[in-house]
């Protein structure tokens, strides 16, 4: 790797040719408006793309593509870079033929099972809220040891959007659901996998669970469930059922394939934790991060993301010495519940080796654990719900790499 010599050197005695001479863009006529009726990123941004982690899965239609967190800003994930997780590929469903049904596991749970068209759903009272979504398997490859080079692959099953939809509670009430008798609902997708997950009624009653159609101002992308997906704030992505076609009201968990064979956490005693769902408080530094090289010594802004499935992030601390000493970082606003929070911290890099870490605390007082603490509680074969403190090692030549520290 080329080290910090990579920095552009523009200081010359007379001046920089890109200032002294006319630039192509300053001395010509540009492109017309609506040249792209739906615009695209600059061609210079091509490197920031969704990518698979080679060897993680055997087939690309039952796989993951990771969001390039190493190059993102703020808290909103551009929808084109939202991570993907499909079990039976993605479909671009004809919205005029899509239906949403509510029924009961037993007749007494729902007075009038109903069918809604997309016309119907979009007529109902909506809410718009910003929330993160994280796959329960995010950082899963790192439970035992360092396995992948960059934050795209360690943490890239994470995205954050403004979602718009109808509270599921509103729809259940419209069908006359017995919200006292009900204890769980089942959400079901309309794709080939017809993904099913059990959701606790408490979350539905809170009004937080949405039957959503909007994402970042426009309709959901096909890869994210167009035209309808369930939003289950704070809970792992698999429960945010895409291409949502049905919700059933019931009184016992369903033990569906993705809550009885996957998304179960293997403990050291050989038992699996079932129905583990909440994404606990977690954070990661995205700049600088693994696989990058700092352009030079001197001033940098450490920047990263923090989130908690239990509410708001209260604070984030950053260490540059591998967790011996910590400094509180600045949080960007707004700080929202079950939403990404961007933190930054000034850092003057003196060219010596460094070990960068971030540690988030949420409004419940829960402090993100280190790898030692996490493994003491859960071993290292759990696959899911790895929220350990991430370490990036900075070498003298500016190279940043992925390491683990207890």
């Amino acid at each position: 790797t080329r080290g910090r010599a990579a920095a552009a050197s523009t200081a010359v005695s007379v001046g920089d040719p890109d200032i002294l001479n006319p630039t192509p863009w300053g001395s010509s006529l540009g492109q017309p408006v609506a040249a792209s009726p739906y615009g695209q990123p600059s061609k210079h941004e091509r490197g920031l793309a969704r990518r698979q982690s080679p060897g993680l899965t055997q087939v690309a239609a039952a796989s993951v593509s990771f969001a390039p967190l190493q190059g993102l800003f703020g808290i909103i994930t551009p929808s084109g870079l939202h991570f993907e997780r499909h079990h039976q590929g993605w479909q671009d469903i004809d919205p005029t033929r899509h239906r949403f049904m509510i029924d009961g596991a037993r007749p007494e749970f729902v007075k009038t099972p109903k069918v809604y068209t997309m016309d119907d759903i979009l007529r109902l009272p909506s809410v718009s809220r910003m929330h993160f979504i994280e796959c329960g398997a995010n950082t899963g490859m790192e439970w035992g040891n360092v396995a992948v080079p960059t934050v795209q692959y360690t943490h890239g099953m994470l995205s954050c959007s403004e979602f718009t939809g109808v509270p599921l509670r509103t729809l259940l009430e419209d069908c006359g659901a017995d919200l006292k008798a009900a204890t769980y609902v089942l959400a079901e997708g309309g794709d080939g996998s017809s993904m099913t997950r059990t959701i606790p009624i408490e979350l539905v009653l809170s009004g937080e669970v949405l039957v959503a159609y909007g994402q970042n101002g426009e309709m959901l992308r096909p890869e994210n469930g167009y035209p309808l997906r369930l939003i289950v704030p704070g809970v792992q992505g698999v429960s945010w059922v895409k291409w949502l076609r049905r919700v059933e009201v019931g009184d016992r968990p369903y033990a569906t394939k993705d809550e009885a064979v996957h998304y179960i956490d293997l403990m050291p005693d050989g038992q699996h934790r079932q129905y583990s769902s909440i994404q606990e408080c977690k954070s990661v530094i995205t700049t600088p991060s693994g696989g990058q090289t700092l352009v030079d010594k001197g001033y940098f802004t450490i920047s990263g993301l923090a989130w908690s499935g239990r509410g708001k992030v209260k604070r984030v601390d950053v260490s540059v010495d591998g967790g011996v000493n910590w400094v509180e970082a600045t949080l960007q606003t707004p700080v929202l519940s079950k939403c990404l929070t961007r933190f930054i911290l000034p850092w003057n890099w003196d060219g010596k080796p460094a070990l960068l870490q971030s540690r988030a605390t949420d409004e419940t007082g829960f402090v993100q654990p280190g790898y030692g603490q996490l493994r003491a509680a859960r071993g290292s074969r759990s696959i899911y719900h790895n929220n350990a403190i991430q370490t990036w090692q900075v070498a003298e030549n500016g190279d940043v790499s992925n390491v683990q520290i207890l």
């Binding site: 992948v148 956490d265 654990p369």
Partner: protein, 240 residues
């Protein structure tokens, strides 16, 4: 007056009752207590025919293939069938985890095969086909004998022989409601927000092995071409 009222507490004109046929068509979930299980049956031997025609290409003759998805069958023993716990799940030297090693509820398999398999033609099997092919898989896993006929009645006996039937716990804090048995009161990790001299030394336990550096392509091409950092060159440029 003009144009209606600016407040409403119900939703006239929106949605309509589902017909019984519609509910029947879509309510296909089968629960651990077998709610929703259709009546029907299928033998191991008919299941083998279906398996070989529609499943083995992806999952292997014995459900052992790792080429399209993780192996479905393997890693369980007659002892597990008795104990209800798959013993190899305790072993750290046995990383493989097949479907049958993990699944506690046979309903899960019926439900899932019916809704999603074969992967490239989901929902194409009849209810009896699902019984048959599941009977065959259970036989491959040595849970049921060769002459077994799986039905909506016998499936209850199968549940009592599932190798990992007692392998699940809900004693954890990651369920967002009180509804499960054994709800854990508290998260199982508890770090402290120490700020200075938090530990005597730094223990680095793991770093990326050199051979893995190039496994994710050329990182230089996966980063922005300007800014505080560049991506490290770890491989040849990707094709444009």
């Amino acid at each position: 007056g003009l144009g209606g009222t600016a407040l409403a507490d119900n939703f006239p004109g929106v949605g309509r009752p589902a017909t019984p046929a519609e509910v029947k068509a879509w309510d296909i979930d089968v629960g651990p207590d077998f709610t929703g299980l259709p009546s029907g049956s299928g033998s191991v031997s008919r299941g083998m025919d279906i398996w070989e025609a529609k499943c083995s290409a992806c999952h292997g003759t014995f459900g052992e293939s790792n080429s399209v998805f993780n192996p479905l069958i393997g890693g369980t023993t007659a002892e597990d069938v008795k104990s209800g716990h798959v013993a190899t799940l305790k072993r750290t030297d046995f990383p493989a985890r097949t479907t049958v090693m993990k699944v506690a509820t046979v309903s899960t398999l019926y439900d899932y095969i019916r809704r999603a398999m074969p992967w490239n033609a989901p929902k194409s099997l009849s209810d009896d086909d699902v019984y048959a092919v599941l009977a065959y898989m259970l036989n491959l896993a040595e849970i049921v004998p060769d002459d077994f006929v799986l039905t909506d009645a016998t499936i209850r006996d199968v549940q009592a022989r599932m190798p990992n039937r007692d392998g699940m716990t809900t004693a954890h804090a990651l369920w967002p409601g009180p509804g499960l048995p054994n709800p854990a009161a508290k998260p199982d990790t508890a770090n402290a927000a120490c700020m200075t001299n938090c530990k005597p030394s730094v223990q680095r336990t793991s770093h990326l092995p050199d051979h893995a550096l190039g496994a994710h392509g050329n990182l230089a091409a996966q980063n922005r071409i300007f800014g505080p950092v560049r991506g490290q060159r770890t491989g040849p440029d990707e094709a444009a």
